[in-house]
Amino acid sequence: MKARVHVTLKSGVLDPQGTAIQGALAHLGFEGVQGVRQGKLIELDLAESDPVRGRAVVEEMCRRLLANTVIENYAIEVVP
């Protein structure tokens, strides 16, 4: 099965990359961009086929490695 992990910065944490993108978009003439946040997308290809067990494992991966919970949130999407 496949899983996708979205890692995003917590809301209180400043996001210089997002801010830079917002500035660059304005520079290019795109109007009405009120906010930009940049995160990570991690796509996993797993041997596991059971979605429940799979999600639990990915959850564990996020806590231990994929996200730094001091600054980041994560969300898991399982694609069976």
Partner: protein, 229 residues
């Protein structure tokens, strides 16, 4: 003083740390490959700078899970002093030995230049040879040195005197143009609660030889050697 420098895949200041330790303390450190589960008893453990695992995912994240880090965490728990420089600081935060996290520089650019830092306390093994308020010049070379912790954590760090160095101008004025990377409260280096673990972004080991343009980093190693021998 017996010391060990932990080498991770793509550490790249391991030799710099080795050279400074050997020259200043007169004794060559053990170079410990990260895959080793254990290493000799030492008085100081150094996590050197570099790009362990390419800084992929997050700087220091993968190294924090190296087999040797279990041992480093255990010894730090027993009070063995640990010094993390640059990537080493990032690894210390990722492994939970120090609070907070190091994010991309606010400019989004890698920065390699000299900075000035103000010494915030001399009450530690690492800073005993510096006067409080002294200004030290050292090189930085990092893309992810922007220290972040939430306000409560920062307040606690300040209350307990856990802030080791703050970025400043050459005259000692903290912050403003002296802060190269956007670090909160101009933090360049912090201790753990017992002040036996120090993480800092600037490179004292690259400021230990007059021919390289400065010796302000020597006092850190001299102080350690004196306290730990």
């Amino acid at each position: 003083m017996r010391s060990a420098v932990i080498v991770f895949p793509a550490s790249n200041c391991d030799r710099d740390a080795e050279t400074a330790l050997r020259d200043i303390t007169g004794r060559a450190p053990h170079m410990v490959w990260h895959a080793e589960g254990t290493f000799p008893e030492v008085d100081l453990i150094v996590l050197p700078g570099g790009f362990s695992y390419g800084d992929y995912l997050r700087a220091g994240a993968m190294a924090a899970h190296s087999p040797v880090m279990r041992e480093v965490v255990a010894r730090a728990g027993r009070g063995v002093p640990v010094l993390g420089i640059c990537n080493g600081f990032q690894i210390l935060c990722e492994s939970g030995l120090l609070p907070g996290a190091l994010m991309r520089n606010a400019s989004l650019k890698f920065l390699g230049r000299d900075v000035h830092v103000r010494v915030e306390t001399s009450q530690s093994l690492f800073t005993s040879r510096y006067a409080v308020g002294a200004v030290a010049r050292m090189p930085i070379a990092h893309g992810d040195g922007n220290y972040f912790a939430d306000d409560a954590t920062l307040d606690r760090l300040e209350e307990r005197g856990q802030i080791a160095f703050r970025y400043c101008l050459p005259d000692g004025t903290v912050g403003g143009a002296g802060n190269p990377n956007g670090a909160r409260r101009d933090i360049a280096g912090i201790f753990n609660e017992t002040k036996t673990v120090l993480g800092l972004m600037p490179h004292p080991e690259r400021a230990a030889d007059p021919l390289l343009g400065g010796t302000d980093g020597r006092a850190m190693f001299e102080g350690l050697a004196e306290a730990l021998s």
